[in-house]
């Protein structure tokens, strides 16, 4: 029928109608025929089917619901009247009709189902809840539902089913907390009921039921998570305090409640937990069952018990645990790097179950894996039950090696809290050793270094460093724990291994002669051990000790280690050997290990009687560093006083080999960079020169006691200050270059025997000579050329603007004298200044002598200045020359140092400028009654202002010693800027001696500039007084304030003329008149 060609068959309609009629289908209702569709189209087909059916289905179930609701309402109205008779009848008859409560449950359940079919989850949930609570009431009364009847059993199962439905509907709605709350309240309610029914917590029925509940819930969650269910995370809300404010707002009350905390019983977890719970319950179930089995007689009739007997509890447990394990693994985020502890815990339970079910090999495999983590994290409490189960597995498997190993580990961990007596484990071990033979003759090595060691050990060295061939004392302490007895374990020997080439030593057991001899502390001397004694290793030391430890006993092995090569010496391993029958067991011990939970507590046995220990307060007590003996090299540096700038300052480095070995000496010299400005320093040794580092200056091989020196030259320039030199003297022992001792392959790589001696030298550097300058300026006496003078346009025309006198004082300031070999003034004539003459040029030989500290040398030099065309930048004319002093340092042994040169340039010049000035020129001497000329040059140096000069000669009637011929009082033509006027007088002296020249007053009749000074002179009303300068005594300091202290006033030979405008009026030139 469902083929393509049938679709076109004319008989199709008739046939379909027939089918409809036959099936009693409504003509409106749809009839679906599965048409031949490809698998790709099947989805569409199903969807169309659903679309077509959805509406009618909803309608259908709605109608059903309505019908049921009508029935229920009718029933509940009839309830009151029918209740009593029904109860009486129901109690007697076995096949009684349903009670009204029963009907309620029935209708509610139906309505819930229909609502669920309609997809109305909320309504379904409500009806399920009603059904559930009605059912709970029914089950709560033994009168309504007597326990252990068929209907009771049905009701119980129904309640469980409804509970699951409710949980599921909650989860649909993402209400995890409600779902879990319902789940737990269901379990709680029915636990209470179960107690009433006589299937309380002591019965396997109860646990079976509880396990089922957990399992169903877990499966539900698992199904849910496969689709859209998300397991919530219960992270604490950030900041409890901040959330309290929200509660005050009171808006989101539910949120706030959640923020404050949550009900742990309502925190949904991933399904693994519920599988785990189910497994635990099943374990309990088995437990109860086994207990029931013991008193079987009372129970055997019960059908439940018969049923229980068929159940393989362990495989159920195993299945549940395995599922839990997988889920825990899936949900653990603590990824691959370590196996999760939760999964380990489940794995442990699985292993226990395997053990219970007799699959010992599986169990052992699990235990091996689990124990690793527990050992590493030192959870002894967890390890102990694990080990004991493991041990029992090993016993069952007959694996004697494993048994022995585990027993030793258990002993290492100590007894469980109190149940074992301290000797039982030891007895167990001995029993195993005596009763069995090992599977092979090979030595069994039981490595307990990861887990708890049998003995507390500590290896302590007294010193942290020793030199080569020097003995290092050590003590190895082996202490038995106090909580467990090892006294009867038959240890036969103890092997002590050291690092490197040191020979190992075996201590043999020897029984004490009598028990009275045995003290709790034994000290055994192992003697001196050294790397060089390895040849006579076969020399049997035959060390014996009592290798039996009673609780708390201590064995101390002491001795000295010596190494001929630098290395780290340590006790690398201790191996206890235990022999019993065919058993031969090696127990390696770490030289420094403690039982977990105790702090390593290194101590040194100070004395044996009384026993006294010295605590070792050192971190690296467990090894000793062997080093070469330090080289004894003496280094002395000698130099004379401070270095002078410019010279090559000799520093003698003297190296003495004070050791008893031949040493190869190499010196590195580093000149530290300085922060001194313009410092250009370098050092030189032999032919090497460097401004920073000279490396590898060979001093050669020095035999013991030999010394050698080299001279290092330090040359400094720039400013004074300290120069720092680091000198590193490296010595290398010649013995280690060609080692005489054969190097065994396992010895550490040869450490070169080197030493280094460091010296730092600070060389103060000073100037040998300092120079000071004093400058005075003189005005030109030459008449200035006219403005149009053609000569001034010549290239070599020197527009004379006066002279500068420079007095230079050089002082030898160095602490040791110098010998001056040459002193020159190097001329560097410039545009505006040139050196006219200098005293240095004249008598050179006189000053080429030794200059000692404080000696001074003075030079005068005249510099001719040219008129400035324009003001200079900075205002200074550079000094037109440089003094160069060539000198050698005077060394203490009458020798002279290297030739050095020091230069001082002439100071920069700044000639003062004049405004309006009057220069008085008069001869120094005159003869009585013979005419001398007096000449006054008035020069207007002002750049812009012209001058209106009034001249006044004021002969003094009383004191005048001259007769004057010339102008007495007059006015000069206006003097233009740059102009000059010369006025001449003739004087005839009429007195002998120092005679004053008549006073000449020069006034400039122009309104004075409105300055404070000008105001003062305004009193005279005439105008500004012009300064009159006697050119014979002309000399001015620089205009600008030169604060330099180097103006040595005492050396100035020219009388200082301090011109002050107010003095100018009183100025009077003096002439010596001779008879």
């Amino acid at each position: 029928m469902a083929s393509r060609k049938m679709l076109d068959d004319p008989a199709l309609d008739a046939r379909l109608t027939f089918i409809r009629r036959q099936s009693g289908l409504d003509p409106r209702a749809a009839l679906f025929v599965l048409s031949p569709v490809t698998s790709a189209e099947i989805g569409d087909f199903v969807r169309s089917l659903q679309e077509a059916l959805y509406e009618p289905a909803i309608e259908y179930y709605t109608n059903h619901s309505k019908r049921v609701r009508r029935k229920r309402n009718r029933h509940s109205q009839a309830n009151v009247s029918y209740q009593l008779p029904l109860t009486t009848i129901g109690s007697t008859s076995a096949q009684r009709p349903l009670r009204p409560e029963g009907w309620t449950v029935r209708y509610e359940y139906k309505m819930a189902c229909f609502a669920e079919f309609r997809g109305e989850d909320d309504i379904a949930l409500k009806h399920y809840h009603d059904a559930y609570s009605a059912l709970h009431i029914m089950l709560g009364s033994t009168a309504i539902l007597p326990p252990r009847t068929k209907r009771w059993a049905e009701a119980k199962v129904l309640a469980d089913c409804i509970s699951v439905k409710i949980c599921k509907l909650y989860l649909y709605n993402n209400e995890h907390a409600m779902a879990l709350a319902h789940h737990s309240s269901h379990m709680r309610l029915f636990s209470d009921l179960s107690r009433g029914w006589g299937i309380g917590e002591e019965t396997f029925e109860f646990w079976s039921w509880l396990a089922r509940q957990h399992r169903v819930f877990a499966e539900l969650l698992e199904q849910g998570t496969r689709s859209t269910l998300k397991i919530p995370t219960h992270l604490p809300s950030p900041g409890v305090a901040s959330q309290t404010q929200e509660t005050q707002r009171g808006s989101l009350e539910v949120e706030a409640m959640r923020a404050l905390g949550l009900n742990p019983t309502q925190a949904l977890q991933h399904p693994g937990f519920y599988y785990y719970m189910a497994a635990r319950c099943t374990e309990n179930r088995r437990d109860r069952y086994l207990r029931a089995l013991e008193n079987e007689s009372s129970h055997h009739a019960s059908p439940g018990f018969v049923n229980e007997r068929k159940v393989d509890h362990l495989s159920i447990v195993l299945e549940l645990y395995t599922r839990a394990y997988e889920l825990f693994k899936k949900y653990s985020t603590s990824s691959s790097q370590s196996q999760g502890r939760l999964t380990l815990w489940i794995a442990y339970l699985i292993a226990q179950t395997y053990y219970e079910s007799g699959k010992f090999e599986m169990a052992v495999r699990f235990f091996e894996r689990i124990a690793k983590t527990y050992r590493r994290e030192q959870w002894d409490a967890l390890l102990r039950p694990l080990l004991s189960t493991w041990y029992r597995c090993a016993q069952h498997l007959g694996d004697m090696e494993l048994s022995v190993q585990l027993l030793l580990e258990i002993i290492g961990h100590g007894p469980q809290d109190d149940q074992d007596d301290p000797e039982s484990l030891e007895e167990d071990l001995l029993a195993v050793l005596k009763s069995t033979v090992p599977s092979s003759d090979q030595v069994l090595t039981v490595d307990l270094t990861e887990s708890g060691p049998l003995l507390d050990t500590s290896a302590v060295f007294w010193k942290s460093h020793v030199n080569v061939d020097q003995a290092a004392a050590f003590q190895i302490t082996l202490t038995a724990p106090e909580i467990i007895s090892l006294a009867s374990l038959p240890f036969t020997s103890l092997l002590v291994q050291f690092s490197g080439d040191l020979p190992s030593i075996t201590v043999q057991h020897t029984a004490p002669e009598s028990d009275a001899d045995v003290s709790s502390l034994q000290k055994i001397d192992l003697g001196d051990l050294s790397t060089s004694s390895s040849d006579n290793e076969d020399k049997d030391k035959d060390i014996k000790a009592n290798l039996r430890w009673r609780p708390g006993d201590t064995l101390i092995l002491c001795g000295n280690l010596t190494s001929s090569v630098p290395s780290n010496m340590t006790v690398s391993k201790l191996v206890l050997t235990l022999k019993e029958g065919n058993w031969n067991i090696d127990l390696p011990l770490h030289p420094n290990s403690r039982r977990s939970g105790t702090i390593p507590y290194p101590r040194w046995l100070g004395s044996l009687s009384p026993v006294r220990f010295i605590p070792v307060h050192r971190d690296n007590y467990s090894f000793v560093v062997v080093r070469h003996r330090p080289h004894v090299v003496k280094v002395s540096l000698s130099s004379e006083g401070p270095a002078y700038l410019g010279e090559e300052f000799p520093i003698v480095i003297d190296v003495t080999n004070a050791d008893d070995r031949e040493l190869d000496i190499v010196v590195d010299i580093l000149l530290q960079p300085t922060e001194i400005e313009e410092a250009d320093n370098f050092i030189s040794v032999d032919e090497e020169r460097s401004s920073s580092l000279i490396k590898g200056v060979e001093f050669g091989v020095l035999p013991p006691g030999v010394n050698m020196n080299k001279t290092l030259y330090l040359a400094c320039s720039g400013a004074v200050g300290d120069r720092v030199i680091d000198i590193s003297v490296q010595s290398r022992s010649m013995a280690s270059v060609s080692p005489t001792t054969p190097v065994t392959p396992q010895s550490p790589s040869q450490v070169a025997d080197t030493g280094e001696t460091l010296r730092t030298l600070v060389v103060p550097t000073v100037d040998p000579i300092t120079a000071t300058h004093h400058v005075t300026y003189r005005r030109s006496t030459k008449p200035s050329p006219g403005l149009g003078d053609l000569d001034t346009f010549e290239g070599d025309y020197w527009d004379d603007a006066g002279e500068a006198h420079v007095v230079t004082t050089m002082t030898s300031v160095g602490p040791s004298g110098i010998f001056v070999e040459g002193l020159k003034l190097l001329r560097e004539d410039g545009t505006y200044a040139k050196v006219n003459e200098s005293t240095v040029d004249q008598d050179e030989d006189e000053f080429l002598t030794e200059w000692h500290t404080g000696d001074e040398f003075c030079d005068q030099c005249r510099i001719s200045l040219a008129r400035l065309d324009e003001p200079l930048g900075g205002g200074y004319i550079p000094g037109p020359g440089t003094y160069e002093v060539s000198w050698r340092r005077l060394l203490p042994n009458n020798q002279k140092g290297s030739l050095a040169k020091t230069r001082f340039s002439l100071p920069p010049l700044k000639p003062p400028s004049d405004g309006l000035i009057a220069l008085l020129n008069v001869p120094n001497t005159a003869k009585l009654h013979q005419t001398i000329p007096l000449q006054l040059t008035i020069r207007n140096g002002h750049p812009t202002k012209s001058a209106n000069i009034i001249l006044q000669l004021e002969p003094d009637a009383v004191t005048d010693g001259f007769v004057v011929a010339g102008i007495r009082n007059g006015r000069l033509p206006i003097l233009l800027p740059g102009g000059e006027e010369i006025i001449k007088w003739n004087l005839i002296p009429i007195e002998c001696g120092w005679v004053k020249v008549p006073k000449i007053k020069v006034m400039n009749r122009r309104p004075p500039p409105p300055s404070a000074h000008g105001q003062a002179h305004d009193v005279e009303g005439e105008g500004e007084i012009v300064e009159v300068v006697d050119v014979r005594w002309d000399g001015r300091p620089e205009q600008s304030v030169r604060t330099s202290v180097d103006v040595a006033r005492k050396s100035v030979e020219v009388p200082k003329v301090e011109m002050h405008p107010s003095d100018a009026a009183q100025f009077a030139a003096v002439v010596l008149v001779l008879p």
Binding site: L235, L262, N263, L382, P600, R603
Partner: protein, 173 residues
């Protein structure tokens, strides 16, 4: 609403996940091993929480409810990474975080005071100050005070409603 939090067990775990001290207060005393396992397995969840906390840059010591078995397990990590785990008896009521934090603070203080004991470091090599084994040894049976302090807090949770104030004053004595 003042729910009485019944403290069943307390565990202190060192930063290297070695147990420092595990005390159980359940009456009658039974199944102490169970709490060892609970403490150990909680470390997994704590690791998870720490990762989450570092991701969200949270500096809160309180790690919240770790998981629920037949007890509710809560975790706390001190700034120096010592983990404190407590097991509270299940009761069908909301456990306020503030109450749990108060218990943790009290336990943390107890631990801090015990580690501050200068005699813990007696005879220990002086350079060894950062060695965690000292912290672990604080839980050793030789040091009674720590146990006493923890037990006192445990008893307090059994006997009284734990108000933070009470816990603090009980330690100051």
């Amino acid at each position: 609403m003042a729910p009485q939090l019944r403290l069943n067990a307390v565990a202190f775990v060192s930063p290297q996940n070695h147990p420092i001290l595990i005390r159980t207060f359940e009456q009658p005393r039974q199944d102490e091993l169970k709490y060892h396992y609970i403490a150990h397995t909680s470390l997994d969840v704590i690791d998870e929480r720490i990762q989450a906390a570092t991701a969200s840059k949270s500096t809160d010591c309180y790690l919240g409810l770790l998981y629920v078995e037949d007890v509710a397990v809560y975790g706390y990590m001190t700034p120096l990474k010592v983990k404190i785990i407590i097991a509270l008896e299940l009761s069908d009521s909301i456990v306020r975080d503030a109450d749990v934090v108060a218990i943790f603070k009290a336990l943390h203080t107890a631990y801090r005071r015990s580690v501050a004991n200068p005699f813990l470091r007696l005879n220990v090599p002086t350079e060894n100050v950062t060695d965690h084994s000292i912290l672990v040894s604080a839980g050793n049976s030789r040091w009674q005070a720590f146990r006493k302090r923890v037990d006192e807090i445990g008893r307090a949770s059994y006997g009284f409603v734990p108000s933070p104030l009470f816990l603090v004053t009980s330690k100051i004595q």
